[in-house]
Point group: C2
Chain length 291, copies 2
């Protein structure tokens, strides 16, 4: 497995692969790899001839410096994960290589997708995401890139960016991977203390309760959001960032829910922010629900 | 010579060229081609194996709808110019292909380069330029792209964007081409009436007068700018948009001029806006100066 820290090294390698007629599939990550990332890498292997994984904790997408500081880092273990999964090249640039002093170019998707959910909670977050993704695409020059559905707003914004800027990259969305108790995998889960980890299962359970209410005929978005909120807020040290019913096209908030809507949520457990969502009327989540 | 209106057609052609090992050089234009463009195309031929010229009057870089409407269009003649110069492919996308309804992604260079000269006079202009250039790069996938030095702030901003986003494109700057009397070539010159065309030579003459004053020891930027302004403002129907002494690095205004500065100007002649600049202490412009 190759490992590159320099932009030019990664680009030269990618160019050689393309000239040899290889299809490059790409999984951009912030490291702290877990089974969710592994599923993205497996998908990448099935979509391309060679797989590149980038590991870069992108400072431009953190609105909160403490959150950036606390983001888990485990480079040796990440390297072993990539090695064991048969990744061909790992791109691990330094912050100085990616965002040198004087850096001043940004890519931004404006409009409805930027006016709800995480875009409101984390100002500048998606500008940072779009900027680093476009830059990584310019360096890695992939044919396709795999993103997890868990970060659905991120995926939709990146799809919009790629479509608008005519980037020659196919965006592939891979399903959310969950723990046995239903909690969506996230690098941030590592930061949960035991109590918060136990309480966090209220997120998928609350989503599923709202989904069951929707399937039973409830269409009032406030009531669906309340069904979720009641479930998570029964615990201590829990703060609700948002719980919103939005249309899948454009992420516009809906007062009346329909089967083209998701319930998207962000919740702090003892300061650790987790996000998740459910497609209303869609498949149930694998959670235990007490009668 | 190939002609493509569809993004996918241009991209497929470019991909085939690259796979055949050809180096693609690219000249992005807004049409109304003149000898300045011809010099860019000749340079492109010497830099690559195949030359792509795009012709697209980019609506996102016009802050003034009347200016967009009045921008000269002469597609048949442009096609003949490209044909006669041995261009390999002309990319002529429609506005709907480039900026369909709902388009919402923008690329922007922020900071000092965005806080002076044309960036101030034409809000949003360079955001539109950066966006269309990044998009054209994604479509045409050139190895190098040629820009004219006349639009110096544009060139510096694009170089900054390409460097920041690690675009795999070499930016080549070709010298300004001038009429015999010194007027810099521009598609906008077509829109000058006879009187304004005669008066417009005061732009290079004023720049050269300031340059001569600098060479004679004058360092006060206000005096250098006044030397220019006095020259152009002696005519009727002339409005000075700006005349500023700025440092070549970052385009920051300088009260005291030095040989790392340019005098950059924008002047309206009967409503037609022309820009030009001179490197203070650099080569003289080919203008007649009466004693």
């Amino acid at each position: 497995m190759e490992q590159f820290e320099q932009i030019d090294e990664q680009r030269s390698w990618s160019l050689a692969q393309r000239q040899a007629g290889k299809r490059i599939s790409f999984v951009p990550t912030m490291g702290a790899l877990h089974a969710g990332h592994a599923s993205l890498i497996e998908r990448a292997k099935s979509e391309g001839d060679v797989v590149v994984v980038s590991i870069f904790v992108n400072p431009t997408q953190f609105d909160n410096p403490d959150d950036l500081e606390a983001y888990p880092k485990q480079m040796e273990r990440d390297w072993e994960v990539c090695q064991s999964l048969g990744v061909d090249a790992v791109f691990v640039p330094t912050k100085e290589a990616m965002f040198p002093n004087g850096y001043c170019t940004f890519v931004e998707v404006v409009g409805p997708l930027q006016e709800s959910l995480c875009a409101v909670s984390r100002p500048g977050h998606f500008r940072g995401v779009c900027t680093v993704v476009q830059k990584l695409f310019n360096i890695v020059q992939p044919d396709c890139a795999i993103f997890g559905q868990k970060d659905l707003q991120q995926v939709l914004i990146i799809q919009r960016m790629v479509s608008d800027l005519s980037s020659p990259v196919e965006i592939i969305v891979a399903p959310t991977i969950r723990e046995d108790d239903g909690l969506a995998l996230s690098s941030r889960n590592q930061r949960l203390d035991d109590e918060s980890r136990a309480n966090a299962v209220s997120v998928p359970r609350g989503l599923e309760l709202a989904n069951q209410a929707f399937k039973a005929g409830e269409r009032n978005s406030n009531k669906l959001m309340t069904a979720f909120a009641n479930e998570v807020l029964m615990y201590e040290n829990v703060d609700l960032d948002y719980a919103d019913v939005v249309d899948l096209d454009g992420f516009v908030e809906c007062e009346e829910a329909n089967d083209h809507c998701i319930l998207a949520v962000a919740v702090f457990f003892n300061g650790v922010r987790l996000i998740d969502h459910i497609h209303l009327g869609g498949p149930s989540l694998p959670v235990a629900i007490e009668d």
